[in-house]
Structures are given as C-alpha cells and as structure tokens.
C-alpha cells in the first residue's frame, strides 16, 4: 500500500467527560471571579511580604515597580493597556515619594495599602473572564466556518460549500495518549504544556481540548494577543488569563504565579506555553520558563499539606507538541532570532498581523493541503515521573511511588523554596525530553533538514551567518545525492523511533522520491519565497535559505547531522 496519504484517520469524536458547562472548574472560577481574585490578592500579598520582609525592602520593591511601570508606559504601549494606566502609576509614585524617610510608626499602613492596590490591580488584569454563552457561540462559529472553508476548498463541486464531507478532524490529526489524557482529567487536574511555534497555537489547542471531550482549560495567554481584536474575543471566551511579558516586577510575577497556583489547586485544568514565547529559531524548546511551571509543583505540595481527609487531588503534567508544515510568522521569527543571537538584548514583541492577515491565512490554510498534527504526550506527575491511566506515579521499573514523599523532610511535608526550584528545573528537563520523544516528524521537516545540512557541509568553513549570506543562486543540490542522503537520514530516524526517541508521521514511510516530493511541496508552503524547490534539471534549490534554516531547526537535537 502506498503510504503517502496519512493512515486512515482514527480521529473520532469523543464524548465530553463533563456534560454541563456549570460543572466545569473554569466556569466555577469565573462565576466566583470576585472572590477568587480576592483570594489570589491576599495570598500574593502574603508571599511578597515573605520575600521582602523588611519595610525598607518592601518600599524599595514598590519604588522599582512604579519606576519600571512608568518606563513601560513610556516605551512600549499596547492597545489593551487600560486608559488610566499612566494616572494610576503616577499616583502610586507620588504616594511613594519620601515614604522611606518618614516615621515608620505613622506610615506603616501606607505601604501595605499601596501594595494591595497594585496587587489587586494586577490580579484583576490577569484574571480570565470565561462566559459560557460566548464560549458556546465561539465554538460553533469556529466549527461552522472551519468546516465550510474546508469543504469549499477540498471538494471542488458546486454546492460543496455546504457539505460536511470533511471536518476539522481530517485536517488536524490528534495522535498520542488521548485516552490517558481524558482519564487523567477525570482523576485529577491536568496542566498541559505545549510547544509554541505560532500564534495559531492557542486557537488550535483550544479546538483540540474541545474535540477530545475535555472541559475548557484556563490559558496563560500572552497579553499581546489581546491587541488583535479577533484573538481577544476567542481568548476571552476560552477562559484565558493574561500574561504580560513586559512586566517583570516582583509584585506582578508573584501575583501571576499565585493566580495559576490557586486555579490549579481549585482543580481548573490549565494550559500554558512553558517556552514563554514562540520559538524564534524553529528549534523545539530547550529552555523553559520556570515561573509558571513551579506553580504546578507548589500547588501539588499545597494540596498535600491542606487535604486532611480523602484522596489528595493529583496534578498531571501533559506535554504536547504541535507539528506544522508551515508557520505563518516563520520569516519574522527567524529574523528576530538571528538578530539577537549572541547578543543578550531585549526583544520587543511586535505583531505584524492583524485580523485580516489572519483570515487570509486561515483561508490559505484550508484551501491547500497542509495538515497539522498534535501529539499528546503521556501524563507525568509534577516530578516528571510517568503515570498510569489511574494516575499512579511509576518509577522506571514500573513500581508505584507516592509523590508526597518528594516533599517530605524528616517525616513531614515542608516548604522549601530552593528544593522546589530544583524540582522545577528537573521537571522542565523532563518536559523537554518528552517533547523530543513525541515530536512528530513530517516529510517537510526532514526535507528541510537534509537540504540545509548538506549546504552547510558543502561550505565547512562558513559560519552560520556567512552561509546565510550566500546568494541563493549559488545553491543547488544534485538530486541523486540529495535523495541518497535523505534516505540515509530517514533510516536513522526510523532507528531513533524504534528506540522511542522520536515519532514520525506515517507518510514518511512511502517511496523515497514521493516522500521527498511531498516534503518539498509542503515545507513552508505559503511563503512568498519558497524555502525548497526543484529546478528544471530536477535539482534542489532554495529561494530563501534563512527560512529553510528555520524549518531545518525542527530536527536539531537528535544528532542526525553526523549522517549527512
């Protein structure tokens, strides 16, 4: 059988695990939004005071915060920022002036009040706004239009626009441990941590969560996404909470972490991109942001400490990779990456795409055959141990272990920030290695990888930047040579798969010429300048080596370079 088509799609419809939206934890959170925001504020204030125990330290921190916020307002303003931002912070600053010089007796309440003002403002900004009606509406709209587009584009017959021959399920392949994910979501609280390549990820993953029958997750979505109106609407209706990467001050970060921590403790399934931002280089994330990740560990420890009777609700971390042939923003991302590489400077977040670009992209996406696959990884406990379908943590020998023990010192559960920082680091390493294991390689990734590495090998003396400066006309790979290399690397990829170190799409196993053809046709399919093409002689050329480098990066980290 020719395997170039994806294996008969097993994607089926899953029954929701919780039928009524009122049962969803995320709904409960937003129904009691006010109380929840207060809870977060209270706890965050307590935490900040623990970290800045003296009056002097607290005032210094508040001064630094006000200074940075005013700077942010001056330098990097966004549409979503509240109108009174500038007034609010100048008021804070005025109240802070000279506070440290004053008598602590008479002013002791002032800094507490200021802290509360700030934290409560942040908590309100961060908190999500899930509305069941708007969620249902969005869901139906998305489904309806996606389906129309899909059918209109694929079945080229009059009236096909209103047929239901194709659904999103044909377009987006969900593979991996779906059943386990569903089981774990019933048993405990799921923290989903996907790779992040494109702004489309958020919507895609929202659809995936719905389609496998899970209740809406709370999202840690970049505040910048809320600049784009259409996204803001989607995000709000999906239960997103807002993460503002411009704000690096301690009160903000602690409030954000507390929000995530408390929501997880309340049983809200939660999702964030632990890479923090879209992968600029196209590499699978190697370094994760530890802040939000640490809240999963802390929430688990809190649950162990606070649950006096019955079973303790467990938290499960589920890594997910999103696999694309094409990333809309690739040319900009890689440009950012190359500019910054080696230079450790601040990277302003810019979004060049408005609502129209997005719709145009959506249309392209549906009219051309570019499938997406989403790999759901196996569940982990907060220490990165695999769990079984019942949620038991297992050691490498398959013995059941009690996660509680990791927090025990001298016979009882203790708070130890340094220990948990270390656990967070370990968890992040586990997630990264899990990403590499479940990463699903497409023909297009391999085609890009092989071509770029061959060019690199042909110019051994050039560093990356000099290589990228070569005129594209000078780059041509003999097809037979390319084919042989492709075959050789593909074989190594099979071996890696057998060793459980990577996954690949079934289409990769077809006849080599056809797989290469498929790969070349699909890599970066909608870019104006195509990263890979065949010329009239049948040889391999590129119109954009930089973007090719981006797609090639997807396969870096498996040590496949040595087989080029």
């Amino acid at each position: 059988m020719e395997l170039l088509e994806e294996k008969k799609n097993k994607n089926r419809k899953y029954e929701p695990i919780l039928h009524g939206i009122p049962d969803w934890p995320v709904y409960q959170l937003s129904k009691n939004r006010k109380e929840f925001v207060e809870l977060v504020t209270r706890n965050a204030i307590e935490r900040i005071k623990m970290l800045r125990p003296t009056r002097k330290q607290l005032i210094d921190e508040l001064e630094a915060t006000a200074y940075r916020e005013q700077n942010r307002i001056k330098r990097n303003r966004w549409r979503v920022d509240p109108k009174d931002d500038s007034r609010f912070w100048s008021n804070i600053k005025n109240e802070l002036v000279g506070l440290s010089a004053k008598d602590p007796e008479t002013t002791s309440a002032v800094e507490d009040a200021l802290l509360e003002k700030i934290v409560s403002r942040y908590a309100n900004e961060i908190a999500g706004n899930f509305k069941p009606n708007s969620y249902r509406f969005t869901r139906e709209v998305v489904k309806f239009w996606f389906q129309r587009l899909l059918n209109g584009a694929r079945v080229k017959k009059f009236g096909a626009f209103f047929r239901n021959q194709y659904t999103l399920r044909d377009k987006i392949h969900v593979v991996g441990k779906v059943k386990m994910l569903r089981a774990l979501a019933k048993k405990g609280t799921v923290v989903m941590v996907p790779t992040h390549f494109s702004n489309l990820d958020s919507i895609l993953i929202g659809w995936v969560i719905h389609s496998v029958g899970l209740p809406a997750f709370i999202y840690g979505a970049g505040l910048n996404l809320f600049n784009i109106k259409i996204f803001a609407y989607f995000m709000n209706s999906l239960g997103a909470y807002k993460v503002d990467r411009r704000k690096k001050n301690l009160p903000y970060l602690e409030t954000l972490k507390m929000y995530s921590n408390q929501a997880i403790q309340k049983g809200a399934h939660s999702l964030f991109f632990p890479g923090g931002t879209r992968s600029r280089s196209g590499l699978i994330e190697k370094q994760l942001k530890l802040g939000l990740l640490s809240t999963a560990i802390e929430a688990q420890r809190n649950l162990y400490q606070q649950t006096t009777e019955g079973e303790v609700r467990k938290i499960f971390v589920v890594p997910v990779t999103l696999n694309y042939n094409f990333v809309l923003e690739a040319p900009d991302l890689i440009e950012d990456y190359l500019q910054v590489k080696g230079k450790d400077r601040y990277l302003p977040e810019e979004d060049k795409y408005g609502s129209m670009e997005l719709i145009r992209f959506m249309f392209k996406f549906f009219t051309k055959g570019s499938n997406i696959s989403v790999s759901i990884g196996p569940g982990l406990d907060v220490m990165g141990n695999y769990v079984d379908d019942e949620g038991n943590s297992l050691d490498p020998q398959g013995r059941v272990i009690d996660t509680r023990g990791y927090f025990i010192s001298n016979g009882s559960i203790t708070d130890d920030k340094q220990r948990e920082d270390e656990y967070t680091r370990m968890l992040s390493q586990r997630i990264v290695s899990e990403y590499h294991r479940i990463n699903r390689v497409f023909a297009s990734h391999l085609a890009a990888f092989v071509a770029f590495e061959m060019w690199q090998k042909k110019h051994p003396k050039l560093d990356l930047f000099s290589l990228l400066r070569l005129p594209e006309e000078e780059l041509e790979l003999d097809y037979t040579e390319y084919r042989d290399t492709f075959k050789r690397v593909r074989k190594k990829l099979y071996e890696l798969k057998d060793a459980g170190k990577v996954n690949h799409a079934t289409h990769l196993k077809g006849k080599v010429d056809q797989v290469i053809k498929l790969g070349i046709e699909n890599v970066g399919i909608f870019h104006l300048k195509r990263p890979l093409l065949k010329n009239k002689k049948g040889n391999i050329i590129t119109k954009d080596l930089t973007v090719l480098y981006y797609y090639h990066n997807r396969l870096v980290g498996y040590e496949l370079e040595q087989y080029i």
Binding site: D395, P396, T403, G405, G411, S412, Q418, Y423, M426
Partner: protein, 349 residues
C-alpha cells in the same frame, strides 16, 4: 532536636572509608553499617572492629539492606564504583522519594553497548559515562542526592587529624543535613552546589596521581611536582567542563585539595602504578601484583576517550594513555610535554 530527627542513618559498604565515615556519623546518630556478606557483618560485630578501625558504640553492623532502608531516611553509599550500580539495583526496591542519599564513591560508571569494551571502544560520551549521583537517579526514585569528596585519607580521619570534606548537592537541604551529620571539631565541611563537578574532580585527580608517581619514580623533586599539580589542575578543569562540571568545583577542597593530597600519597595504588612505570616495569606486570585495580588506570582510558570525543586538549592524560597502553616510555612522554609549545598559564577564568 525532635524525635524524628533522631532516626538512625545508614552507611552502605564497610570498606575503609565507609567504616571511618560511619564512626564520624556515630558521634551524632545511631548508624547502621551495611555489608553484603552475613559472615562479615557477624565478624565485625563480634570483633567490634573493621579494617583495623575500632567501631564507635553507636555503629551497628548489618547485612539486611531492607532494614537499613526502612529505618533510615538518610543513607551514605560508600561502595566501589564498579559495584555501585548493582548495589543501587538491590537497594532501589526499598527506596522512597523521601530518602536522601549522600555518596562517597569516586569513580565513573560505564555502560557500553554489547560487544564493546572499555579497551576497544574508540570514543566515549556522557551517554555512556555516568557519575554516581546520576546512577542513583537512574536506578531509583531518589532525587535528593549529594556527594562527599575531598582530601579524605581514611587513616588520617580515623586518627582525628584535622581534615575537611565537601558536601555537594543541588539541594541546600541535603548540604545542610550533610553538614549537621558529619561536622565535628576535627572535621570541617564545605558546601558546593555543583555536584557533578565535585564528583568529576574526585575521579580525574587519579590521573594526575599516576603522573605524580611517575615523576617520583624518575627521581624528580618538588619543582616538577609543583609543575605537574598546577598543570594537572588546569587539565582537570578542561576535561571537567566538557563533562558537565563547573570551574569552581575544581578550585576547591574537592579539586585542588584532593589533588594535592593524592599526589603526595606514595602509598596510594595510583601513585604506585606511576612510580613503577617510571622504573621501567610494564603495566600488566604491575597490575598482576596488585590485589585491587588502581582506579586511575581506568580513569585514564575513560578520560582520554572522552577528551577525543569532546575535542578537549588534555595533554597529560593523552601521554599517560600512550605510556599505559601503547608502550611509550615515561621519559618520552615527559619530553613531549616539556617541548609542547603552547604556554598560556591560565586561559579559563
């Protein structure tokens, strides 16, 4: 102290170092001293001494691994690196995530594909070469791991001569615990959070110890030794960094401290190997005379093959490898090193 903190601690392995450490720990706590063999445990118990060291009254010899693991939260594995993984496999079923392990073993663990041996494999990577803390984490659920390293000659410690050790761990909790348990008025404990660096330093110094023996065998004096130790330390830094250690570990008690001690210990097996090589004997003959393998001989093999893989300049290791396994004489090796043109003293700070 609360009653739970009075739980006994376990020492696994009743060699020289294990016995001495058990005695030091016994000042603060009740200690189980585990040995594999039932008779040995019985003998230690009846004689109330082991390897010539009288046992502290708080030390109880045992051969029941399960008992040690269930009664103690804190264990100190002190078995040779060649048996370490096997020991961990036996211990692992009894270990829980609340256990804390602080090991005192200096050596690498090597896992090779079938059909390959340390002799015939050409290159080694960190996939194959593991430190003991890594073995503990691979074989058990224990994550809070620490290690002990430093200039710790068992004999001198037993005589209560002044000495120090480093407790290294990623976890402050483990370091503080190690300090609390080990420290006394004759034994200072330093902290380091680069556990892998400290472990690697403790192994690599064995290479320089062989070289030190060789210089001594050629009859050279203190200038030569000073040269060797300083250049040896630099080489350890290069190698150690390639293997995942941090510079600081090599400059401290477990690095320079241990190195100086080892290079000045004519009784040590590594030193003896070097000494006799310089006298013109061949390696197989020297090893035939020894009851235990000098750890450094294997370390040279491993370090040389790692250096090749990670493209690290490690001249002393490389020459020693040639002397040990390729028939080069010690004089030739020394001549090569003395003529080598690259003379930057320190280029890594």
């Amino acid at each position: 102290m609360s009653s739970t903190s009075e739980k006994p601690v376990g020492v696994i392995g009743a060699g020289n170092f294990g016995t001495v450490i058990a005695n030091i720990l016994a000042i603060n706590r009740k200690v189980f001293l585990y040995t594999r063999d039932e008779q040995t445990a019985a003998r230690i118990k009846s004689e109330n001494q082991n390897k010539g060291y009288a046992l502290h009254p708080n030390v109880e010899p045992t051969h029941d691994l399960q008992q040690v693991a269930t009664q103690c939260d804190v264990l100190f594995p002190m078995v040779p690196s060649s048996h370490f993984r096997e020991m961990m496999r036996q211990l692992s079923p009894y270990l829980q995530p609340y256990h804390i392990l602080i090991h005192g073993t200096k050596g690498f663990d090597i896992t090779l594909p079938d059909g390959q041996s340390l002799e015939n494999i050409t290159r080694l990577t960190r996939q194959q070469v593991k430190t003991m803390s890594e073995v503990i984490q691979e074989e058990s659920v224990v994550v809070r791991v620490g290690c002990l390293a430093g200039p710790n000659l068992a004999k001198e410690l037993a005589q209560r001569q002044p000495g120090a050790t480093v407790v290294a761990s990623h976890f402050n909790e483990v370091i503080q615990l190690g300090k609390r348990l080990l420290r006394n008025d004759r034994f200072q404990v330093y902290e380091n959070n680069d556990i892998v660096g400290v472990e690697i330093a403790g192994v690599l110094k064995n290479i320089i110890a062989i070289a030190s023996g060789a210089l001594s065998g050629l009859g050279y004096g203190e200038n030569a030794k000073g040269l060797l130790i300083s250049r040896g330390a630099v080489e350890m830094v290069y190698l150690g960094r390639a293997l995942g250690g941090d510079l600081k570990a090599f400059l401290g008690v477990a690095g320079i401290g241990d190195l100086v001690t080892t290079c000045n210990s004519p009784m040590s097996r590594n030193f003896t190997v070097g000494y006799r090589l310089a006298k013109g004997e061949k390696l197989p003959d020297i090893l035939a005379d020894m009851t235990e393998v000098a750890e450094g001989v294997n370390t040279v093999r491993i370090a040389k093959k790692c250096a090749d893989h990670y493209k690290v300049r490690a001249l002393i290791t490389d020459r020693l490898y040639k002397v040990l396994f390729e028939g080069m004489t010690v004089e030739e090796a020394l001549e090569f090193l003395m003529r080598y043109p690259l003379n930057v003293d320190i280029d890594f700070i």
